[in-house]
Each structure stands twice: as C-alpha cells, then as structure tokens.
C-alpha cells in the first residue's frame, strides 16, 4: 500500500516536472536575435533589417514555432550559414584564441604591474627619504656658518 502511494507520488511529480522543463527550454526570437549575427551585414541580427536578416528572422521564428530549443536553433543556423552566424564564435580550433587572448592580456597586465609596482614604491620611498633629509655641509661650510651665526649673536 505504502509502495503504491510512493509510486503514485513519483509519477505525479514526473508528470508535473515534464511540462515545466518543456516550458523552460522554450526560447524567443528576441533571445536568439541577441546571440546571432546577420550574415550579410555583419551586425547583430537584432539590429539588422536587410532582406537577408528578415529571412533569417523568419527562419528562427519557424524553428521556435516548431518547438526547437535555443541550442538546436543555433546549431541549425550554423548548418545553414556557417560559424559566422554566431555572435560568439565556438570555442574550438583557431577560435580558442578569441577567448584566450583577452585572458592572456589581463594576466600580462597583472604581471607587468606586479613587476613594476615594487620598483615604483621603492623609488618613491627613496625619493621621499632624500627630500626629508637636509644636505650635509662640508667642514669649511660649517665653519663659515658658525662664524656667520657668531656675528649675529649678542
């Protein structure tokens, strides 16, 4: 009896979960437009209005209406137009450079700062120290200063 109740609860939860996941997987034209390019104009599809862009939008809408997910739609667009249709290129082959170069640039910048910062701080400290100490006088200048001061003393 308890087993039957448990099975019923499981079945019910599956029945509720299935349509929920179907709803979350559904996408919109606006969402896809932000992720793909107009292949003839070289600008994001959402900003394009050329005949080719209109055809591309109609195709996406047709796929959405057929119930395709965002990933499937993008894959089908790549089959039709090639990788250039994606706003972000796929992370394989030479395209990996697109993702690695910014990371490498940031790491290089951090490295340069880490290398130069101690030197700048050292130089600054040395500069501040030198400014805080009066120049040392020679023995002759000291003697002359003493003599001058002695003249003004009552």
């Amino acid at each position: 009896m308890r087993r039957a109740a448990l099975a019923a609860v499981l079945l019910l939860s599956l029945a509720v979960a299935a349509p929920a996941s179907a709803v979350t997987a559904r996408t919109s034209l606006v969402a896809i437009e932000q992720q793909v390019m107009c292949v003839t104009c070289g600008i994001p599809l959402q900003e394009a209005d050329s005949p080719a862009a209109q055809q591309e939008k109609a195709y996406i809408q047709q796929l959405i209406d057929a119930g395709d997910t965002a990933a499937t739609i993008k894959a089908r667009l790549v089959v039709e137009y090639g990788d250039a249709v994606l706003a972000l290129p796929p992370d394989r082959g030479f395209n990996v450079a697109f993702y690695l170069i910014p990371i490498a640039a940031v790491l290089a910048a951090i490295g340069i700062v880490a290398l130069l910062l101690p030197r700048w701080r050292r130089n600054r400290r040395a500069g501040a120290g030198a400014a805080g100490q009066p120049d040392a006088l020679s023995a002759a200048d000291n003697a002359r200063l003493d003599a001058d001061l002695a003249r003004f003393e009552p």
Partner: protein, 186 residues
C-alpha cells in the same frame, strides 16, 4: 638594460596592434583584382576553381568544384533567394542556360550566397531554373571574386578563365549572348 626592456616590449606590442588595425582597415571592401586584369586585356584564372562546395539539392550531401566543368563555357552567377534583383534577372539566366545546353557549349553554374537552403530550393522551383547550383555558405568563395553584393555574373572560357564580369543585375540577353560567344572562341 632591464629598465629599457619593458618599455621596448610595450612599444613592440603597441606597434603590432597598430599594424593589425591597419591591415584590417586596408583589407576592407571587395577586391577588384579580376576587373583590373580584364581591363588590362588579360583573362585571369577563375579563383578557387578547385574548391569543393556543397551542391544545392534536396540531399545536400555531395560537393563539386568548378573544375568539373573544365572544357565548357561556364556562366557563374552569384545569387540568393533574399535578393530581389536576382529574381529580376532569373529568367535571362535560365534562357542562357537553355541556349548553352542546346549547343552543348557549356552551362550556367549558380552560386547560392549566404542563403537558406530551403529558401534557395523554393527560388529554383519558382523560377524553374534547370542549371546546377552550389552553396557558398559563408560567402568566402564569393569574396575571392570580389563579390559582396548580388547579383554578379562571371563568364568563364573553357580553360576556366574570366572573360567578362557583370557587377549587378544583367538586364539584356545580348550581354550574355555576346560574352558566351566570346568565351567559346577563347
């Protein structure tokens, strides 16, 4: 020595970035190398003649290159189903194909540029095009011909050399007839 190394690296990287930018800017725009060669009285070889492109058919699993038609006059026509002026010249191009097929001199070869395969098939059906078509999915084949606007047509002789170029819609049958005859003679 070390003090000069870091500024030198920074200057080198900046110079490289500027060089890449200048290269990118100078590479903008379509090449007119073929037009210039024709104007100079030469017949340049058709670019990327060996390159395999997908055949536009319902299956879409086969490929072909221009070399398949070596020994024949080829009217290479770049088009797309989203191109309104391509629809205007479609009848003229098909008429040229029927003449070429009847004489056995050659063929029209359509290059479907950055187009949906479904839309292209529909276009072929609507205008009853009887000539073979290849797909230029990413436009890189067209780029080799300096094509960045449609339609454009190149007449090739039997050695796959460019004899004539029409950058824009063909409006008269006489242009096609004249250059097909010329290509058949060279």
């Amino acid at each position: 020595m070390r003090r000069k190394l870091v500024p030198a690296i920074v200057v080198a990287v900046a110079a490289a970035a500027v060089a890449v930018l200048v290269y990118g800017l100078t590479q903008q725009g379509a090449s007119r190398a073929l037009d210039e060669a024709l104007a100079a009285g030469r017949h340049p070889a058709a670019p990327q003649a060996q390159r395999l492109l997908p055949v536009l058919d319902r299956v879409g699993s086969t490929t072909a290159s221009l070399t398949r038609w070596r020994g024949k006059v080829v009217v290479l026509n770049f088009w797309a189903s989203w191109c309104s002026t391509c629809t205007a010249e479609a009848a003229l191009i098909e008429r040229a194909q029927r003449q070429l097929a009847a004489s056995g001199d050659g063929t029209v070869l359509g290059i479907d540029y950055k187009d949906l395969s479904g839309g292209a098939q529909q276009f072929i059906g609507t205008y009853e095009l009887s000539y073979p078509n290849l797909r230029d999915i990413d436009g890189s084949f067209a780029e080799a011909y300096g094509t960045d606007a449609l339609p454009e047509t190149f007449v090739l002789n039997r050695n796959l050399q460019v004899v004539a170029i029409s950058r824009g819609e063909i409006t008269t049958q006489s242009w096609l007839t004249h250059w097909i005859d010329e290509a058949a003679r060279t």
